[in-house]
């Protein structure tokens, strides 16, 4: 199958003035919201259930099921939009925030109708300053046009929209840390249970959904859940945005139907591995996920297929690495990221990421002994599954998968006095 995008979510991308309300309305914007207001909350949820939509934040949890966890008759309820996109290699929510902000607001309001939420809070990553300012303007437009606030689009349903900027912490993408941050506390994950659906923001039932997840709702309401489900496969319905970066000719965000597209197609969309080089490794899902190799190129972008290969589609990223890449160096950089972003709440993550980072720096500099590779494995063993939240797990996944796949390269670093991969590259040059 030829590498081809299928633009559903991004169907209005680049339409004239679409970042403003008139431009968005001109392409049919907010029609789905009006339709949703004429439906019962149960009917909207049923439509989303039929679509098979799964969360696009990384965990891929079925959206309608998540909504269904809200207890009956407990009000007020809140909806939080997770726009704290911070995964290394991930920039697809940014496209939706910057190019199609009203589509997100429409999706948010549709979800609010389905959940009967009185408030929707849009939590935007701290570094996304321009998108946040745009969102502020769009929210103001939505209020002026009567799409937000009391009596949404002339109905009896009311929903307030609140845009809140984060302070630049990766952990606030974890939904309970996001809630704490939103409440003005330190952004740190909460003890579960209770889950946010039962006791979330300000102690009320709360749903947290990703930007891409919600941006799909206008299409699903307009065309029906079944039409959306038909776009992908049964296990992985719909289309999805993938961010391709690294050693490719044209890095970018691409929308493709899930299950019908392979990693090879995705890399082809991005212009292929950069000229004169060959693929050494690739990391799907963002910085958290396990490394894959050239033999996985023909794997379909399907939740299950990728899971079976020992990795995950995660938040929809693909980092491509060619033969010049030192896997110890990449591991070190990712470990440094988690060390920097650990919230410090639990011991294995706080201390383990520090230990891991110090050790990886020694290894990359060729100063570590072979025994220290065993220490590295120990550290990861004591972190994975032992930390308070998944951040600690993810801080081990890439490095351990790289160690397994490129064990010789890791061992070659021990006692080498320098990075052998870099030394070889410099010698060749």
């Amino acid at each position: 199958m030829a590498a081809e995008e299928l633009r559903i979510l991004t169907r209005h991308l680049g339409a004239p003035g679409v970042t403003g309300l008139p431009g968005y309305e001109a392409v049919g914007g907010y029609r789905s919201l009006r339709r949703a207001l004429g439906m019962t909350p149960e009917a909207i949820t049923a439509e989303v259930k039929a679509s098979g939509l799964r969360g696009r934040g990384g965990a891929a949890f079925p959206t309608a099921t998540k909504w269904g966890f809200l207890p009956q008759d407990v009000f007020p309820r809140y909806l939080c939009v997770n726009a704290d996109e911070s995964e290394p290699g991930c920039f697809k929510d940014r496209v939706l925030l910057e190019e199609l902000p009203h589509q997100l607001l429409e999706g948010t309001l549709i979800a609010a109708v389905a959940l009967q939420a009185s408030h929707a809070f849009l939590y935007v990553r701290g570094e996304y300053r321009a998108p946040r300012e745009l969102l502020d303007r769009c929210v103001a437009e939505a209020y002026r046009a009567g799409y937000a606030g009391q009596g949404v689009a002339g109905s009896r349903f009311g929903c307030e929209l609140v845009v809140h900027g984060g302070a630049g912490a990766y952990i606030c993408g974890e939904e309970t840390a996001l809630l704490d941050s939103l409440e003005g506390l330190r952004g740190q994950p909460r003890l579960k249970p209770p889950f946010p659906a039962v006791r979330g923001l300000y102690g009320q039932p709360t749903v947290v959904n990703n930007v891409e997840t919600l941006s799909n709702l206008p299409y699903i309401i307009e065309h029906g859940g079944a039409a959306y489900a038909a776009l992908g496969t049964e296990a992985s319905p719909g289309t999805r945005l993938f961010c391709v970066s690294g050693h490719v000719e044209r890095p970018g965000t691409f929308e493709v139907p899930m299950g019908h597209t392979t990693f090879r197609d995705l890399i082809a969309l991005a212009g292929g591995v950069r000229t004169g080089h060959v693929l050494k490794a690739m990391q799907p899902g963002g910085g958290s996920m396990q490394v894959l190799g050239p033999e996985h190129l023909d794997l379909a972008l399907d939740f299950k297929a990728v899971a079976d290969a020992g990795s995950s589609l995660g938040a929809g990223a693909l980092v491509v690495m060619d033969e010049t890449t030192c896997m110890v160096d990449v591991s070190m950089r990712l470990v440094d990221f988690y060390h920097h972003e650990s919230c410090g709440k639990c011991v294995p993550c706080r201390e383990g990421t520090y230990f891991e980072s110090r050790l990886m720096h020694r290894l990359e500099a060729g100063l570590a002994s072979a025994d220290e590779l065993l220490t590295l494995a120990d550290i990861c063993e004591h972190m994975e599954g032992r930390c308070f939240c998944p951040l600690g797990d993810t801080a081990t996944w890439f490095v351990m998968s790289a160690y397994r796949r490129f064990a010789d390269e890791f061992r070659a670093h021990c006692g080498a006095g320098c990075c052998p991969v870099r030394a070889a590259a410099e010698a060749a040059a």
């Binding site: 912490a169 330190r186 003890l191 060390h339 920097h340 972003e341 650990s342 919230c343 410090g344 709440k345 639990c346 011991v347 294995p348 706080r350 201390e351 383990g352 990421t353 520090y354 230990f355 110090r358 050790l359 020694r362 570590a368 220290e372 220490t375 120990d378 550290i379 063993e381 004591h382 599954g385 032992r386 930390c387 308070f388």
Partner: protein, 642 residues
């Protein structure tokens, strides 16, 4: 007050390392393990705080769950199979200890907590056999950061268990301590770096499992193994908090809290905790001194008792016993108070005896019916003015607990608020507790009456001044009321009237036990004492009494004697000898008082020791029977010992 009838909790049976254990539904696995006799190490969990599961030290295996689970935050389920000793658990504990020690300084030799540190203990028991941390440098922080004049923080020793942070959130509610920065750079500090100002700071080093938070007053003072701990009662006020008195080389070096869920709930106030230097005072009355005829001379205590008795007998030969009075102090033990009222009333024959200044003509035990713990079971607690919490600070924490953890209404009103308007402010009909200081007892009665008319069941807790003000009242060291609030035919003068009579020259002799903090603050006290021709004084410390007494008898501090004291809620608790008297030291005060009475012809039927004296008390005051072990006296109508 009877406790709310609650259905018996449903029991859940699970196994811990193969041992079956039954616990109430909702119990945490950590507590179930403890009940099964299986120790699970933990740093962050604390019995009085909500779980946070941050230290991960208590991870254990549960049933078929693939991941290890935190025992401190997992709720038991029927048939649950908990395994705490598997290789996987032990291996993880070793790994987690390695993490914890990674950035911990190796300064145990100069750390106050060395020897009573969970990090040390668990490192020994669960830690890795050798260090692999040579490859990492340690992250460095502030090692001596004063959080106030009482508390010092060493940020490097901190293992970030959050207990101090949660203490300030959940127990005091002042949110004074917060976490700053993130990842391995995370530290605890005060909010915006402001010094701590709260009255409960001394609990912080106790909740700290390591040597991060230390008492300024105890820094570099001792090693725990050099200390002797004596269980006793805090002498700071009438709340009756249990303490451990830690002493070394015959000096008190600190008070530590002892969890008594009925009273202190394991918290002490700083006034009580840091009041211990009073017990180490150097300006002591160590020998008896006589100046009955001629200049002051030091004599043996029993010789001085004989001389004092002869002088008192001389006064009684020439004058009516009405011209003699006895003044005690709420710092006396029950045995001493009872003995002093025997000496005054039965031996000397005077009706003028008191332990406080103000008159209490209509005192009755129903002012004290409500127990401290029962405050949590009241739907509404009304607190009159600021005096209750000023007199007994730990009360504040119980009120906060009732409010925060039990959802009760705590209504703080002005002491002179109009009682008739109050009923409308009480949230629900139900049980109401009225808490007042003894100085506001008339107002408290009016409030209780008004609320009883509107709301039904009202119970009162009256807070007394001094460590044993309640015991002095129970045992009749009062004018007009004998032991057990028995009404007497002869009304006597109360404390202020006794001082006035003395100042006017109407008293021929005065027997005083001191020091009495309330009286010593009153300028009339010294003027009165100075006018009395014969002052027989018994006091451990130099001061006003030692200056004016003609017969001065050496007393003991509460750390040097034994006996019982009764807290405001009527709980009778033992104090014990923490500092051993030196060889040849004078006998305890109780014996001196008994000997004084006997020399005057009185009959004291038991040995002059605390334990037999308590039996005498029980005969005279039946409510005191069955209080041994720190129970409340069973006054008629108070629903028995609680």
């Amino acid at each position: 007050m009877s406790a709310a009838p609650s259905p018996p909790p449903e029991l859940v049976t699970l196994t811990v390392d193969g041992r079956a254990v039954s616990v109430p539904a909702g119990t945490l696995v950590w507590d179930a393990c403890e009940k099964a006799g299986v120790f699970v190490p933990v740093y962050c969990a604390h019995k009085k705080m909500d779980p946070v599961a941050v230290c991960r030290m208590c991870l254990i295996e549960v049933g078929t769950m693939p991941k290890l689970q935190p025992a401190c935050a997992t709720v038991v389920q029927a048939g649950m199979e908990v395994r705490t000793a598997t290789d996987r658990v032990q291996r993880f504990r070793q790994g987690n200890m390695e993490f914890l020690l990674l950035n911990h300084p190796l300064d145990c030799p100069v750390c106050d907590r060395g020897g009573e540190c969970d990090l040390q203990d668990f490192a020994q028991r669960y830690g890795p056999p050798r260090s692999r941390t040579a490859i990492t440098g340690k992250v460095h922080f502030d090692k001596a950061r004063p959080l106030s004049d009482r508390i010092m923080l060493d940020q490097e020793r901190c293992i970030l268990c959050w207990r101090c942070v949660r203490y300030c959130d959940e127990i005091t509610g002042d949110r004074a301590i917060v976490l700053q920065e993130r990842a391995v750079h995370t530290v605890v500090d005060t909010f915006e770096g402001r010094p701590l100002t709260g009255p409960f700071q001394g609990n912080l080093p106790e909740v700290c499992p390591v040597g991060a938070l230390t008492h300024t007053a105890y820094r570099f003072r001792s090693r725990p193994w050099d200390l002797q701990r004596t269980p006793s009662v805090c002498p700071g006020c009438s709340y009756g908090c249990t303490v451990g008195i830690d002493s070394r080389d015959n000096a008190v070096v600190r008070f530590v809290s002892q969890d008594n869920p009925d009273v202190d709930d394991s918290w002490l106030c700083d006034r009580g905790r840091y009041g211990f230097p009073e017990l180490n005072r150097q300006d002591r009355v160590l020998t008896a001194e006589l100046s009955l005829e001629g200049p002051v001379r030091a004599v043996g205590a029993l010789e001085a008792v004989g001389a004092a008795a002869r002088a008192l007998a001389g006064v009684l030969e020439r004058h009516d016993p009405d011209q003699v009075a006895c003044l005690g102090t709420p710092q006396m033990t029950n045995e001493e108070a009872f003995c002093l009222q025997w000496l005054g009333r039965d031996v000397i024959g005077t009706p003028h005896l008191d332990h406080q200044l103000e008159p209490w003509p209509d005192l009755a035990p129903d002012e004290f019916r409500l127990a401290i713990r029962e405050l949590e079971d009241c739907d509404t607690v009304v607190v009159l003015g600021e005096r209750p919490e000023a007199a007994t600070p730990v009360l504040t924490l119980r009120l906060y607990k009732a409010e925060r953890k039990r959802g009760r209404q705590v209504l703080r009103i002005a002491a002179d608020a109009d009682p008739t308007e109050l009923a409308g402010r009480v949230r629900d009909r139900g049980r109401v507790g009225v808490v007042a200081h003894e100085a506001d007892r008339d107002r408290a009665r009016a409030v209780a009456t008004a609320l009883a008319a509107a709301n039904g069941s009202v119970h009162r807790l009256t807070l007394t001044e001094g460590m044993n003000g309640r015991g002095c009242k129970d045992l009749g060291l009062l004018p007009g009321l004998g032991p057990g609030y028995r009404r007497l035919d002869r009304a006597g003068m109360h404390g202020r009237a006794i001082l006035a009579a003395a100042a006017e020259g109407r008293l021929r002799a005065l027997v005083v036990v001191g020091p009495n903090p309330e009286m010593e603050q009153d300028p009339a006290y010294e003027a009165a004492i100075a006018r009395v021709p014969l002052v027989v004084a018994l006091t451990p410390v130099r001061g006003l009494l030692s200056r004016h007494a003609q017969a001065l008898l050496p007393g003991r501090t509460m750390a040097e004697k034994q006996g019982t004291v009764t807290s405001s809620e009527g709980r009778v608790q033992r104090i014990r000898v923490a500092l051993q008297p030196r060889i040849g030291a004078p006998p305890p005060e109780l014996r001196l008082l008994v000997e004084l009475g006997r020399s005057l012809g009185g009959t004291w039927e038991s040995a002059p020791l605390a334990t037999p004296a308590f039996d005498v008390i029980c005969d005279a005051v039946p409510a005191y029977r069955g209080t041994r072990g720190g129970l409340r006296a069973a006054w008629p109508g108070t629903g028995g010992a609680a």
